[in-house]
């Protein structure tokens, strides 16, 4: 059995990288998303349907991560937190240069509404013992990305399983 680095052990269950979205949830990106997949759901296009069914316009649930991707450029920015920064921290700290994501689960909470300003943070849930797969030897880890609205309500939790590894020699 190989001991897990104590610093990494301390990350498990810790709330890391809290970030607020750089802009409010807005219809322009909702239209862009629906247009990109030809999603004709009237919840996103028709005000009467939106009012009747969802008490106003909401965003498609699967857009949840889009609200947190930083602008490609912004003034005065020195460094930016990557989506899934914990994943990259693990690769670096555990000296595992390669990584793949094996599973992605999203559980949706209250609807994301136009005008919301969302927040997110990441929680490392687990790191496995060393494992060897056909890719190489490394560790599996589970990371939750928690999304909340400005009222502190959960709008979704995205869970990733990653495998960081070194290729077989």
């Amino acid at each position: 059995m190989s001991e897990l680095d104590p610093e990494v052990q301390a990350w498990i269950g810790e709330k890391r990288y809290p970030v607020e979205s750089e802009f409010d949830v807005e219809r322009g990106y909702i239209f862009s998303s629906c247009s990109s997949v030809e999603n004709a759901n009237p919840l996103y296009w028709d005000e009467k349907t939106a009012n009747d069914v969802t008490d106003g316009f909401i965003a498609p649930p699967t857009m949840i991560s889009a609200w947190f991707r930083p602008h490609q450029w912004a003034p005065h920015r020195e460094a930016q937190i990557l989506p899934l920064q914990v994943h990259f921290d693990l690769k670096e700290k555990l000296e595992l240069p390669e990584a793949v994501m094996t599973d992605n689960t999203i559980v949706f909470g209250v609807p994301v509404r136009v005008g919301d300003r969302l927040r997110t943070h990441q929680v490392l849930r687990s790191v496995s013992e060393p494992k060897t797969t056909r890719l190489g030897t490394g560790r599996f880890w589970e990371i939750d990305v928690i999304y909340e609205n400005q009222h502190g309500e959960s709008v979704g939790i995205e869970s990733y399983t990653g495998f960081g590894y070194r290729r077989k020699a």
Binding site: N41, P42, I106, V107
Partner: protein, 160 residues
């Protein structure tokens, strides 16, 4: 715009298939999806980068765009009152310009939870030719009657 009809739980049976959906993918499809999901990484818009750095044959559809397609596929079937509760997917291979991707699905089960919320549990998969590129499971809440609306469920009555 006329109000769209919504599927109700009593009209769904375990084992029934969802209608297939075929999409021809071109460069614009991939780039539109990358921009809509605010994914500026070059492998989703720069073919030279994708080929030379990623070793793929072209730019390819990104993960959140793939998820948006699955959401569209599900709600095309349910109508606007279908409320997605949970989705899990595993991308096994990439989708490139020139591919025709076909979405498939089947109803694994129909249930009502302890809050009275109706659910259809789905198995979904995406194919290109004879290859499955993404496997997915999803649970979508459906009205249990004409006057029910899963979107009106609040925190204590929403257990996806």
């Amino acid at each position: 715009m006329a109000a769209a009809a919504s599927l109700t739980l009593d009209r769904v049976e375990s084992g029934e298939p969802l209608p297939e959906l075929a999409i021809d993918v071109d460069v614009s499809t991939v780039v539109l999806g990358a921009l809509a999901t605010r994914d500026w990484r070059p492998m989703h818009h720069d073919k030279d980068f994708a080929v030379e750095r990623n070793g793929t044959r072209h730019i390819f559809i990104n993960t959140p765009h793939n998820a948006a397609y699955f959401e569209r596929y599900i709600t095309d079937w349910t109508g606007p009152k279908g409320r997605l509760g949970r989705i899990k997917f595993r991308m096994k291979d990439s989708v490139f310009p020139g591919d025709t991707m076909v979405f498939h699905g089947t109803v694994d089960g129909v249930r009502t939870d302890d809050t009275g919320c109706g659910w259809a549990d789905l198995s979904l998969w995406l194919t290109v030719g004879d290859k499955t590129t993404t496997e997915c499971t999803a649970s979508v809440a459906l009205p249990v009657g004409e006057n029910d609306n899963p979107w009106k469920r609040t925190r204590e009555n929403w257990k996806p």
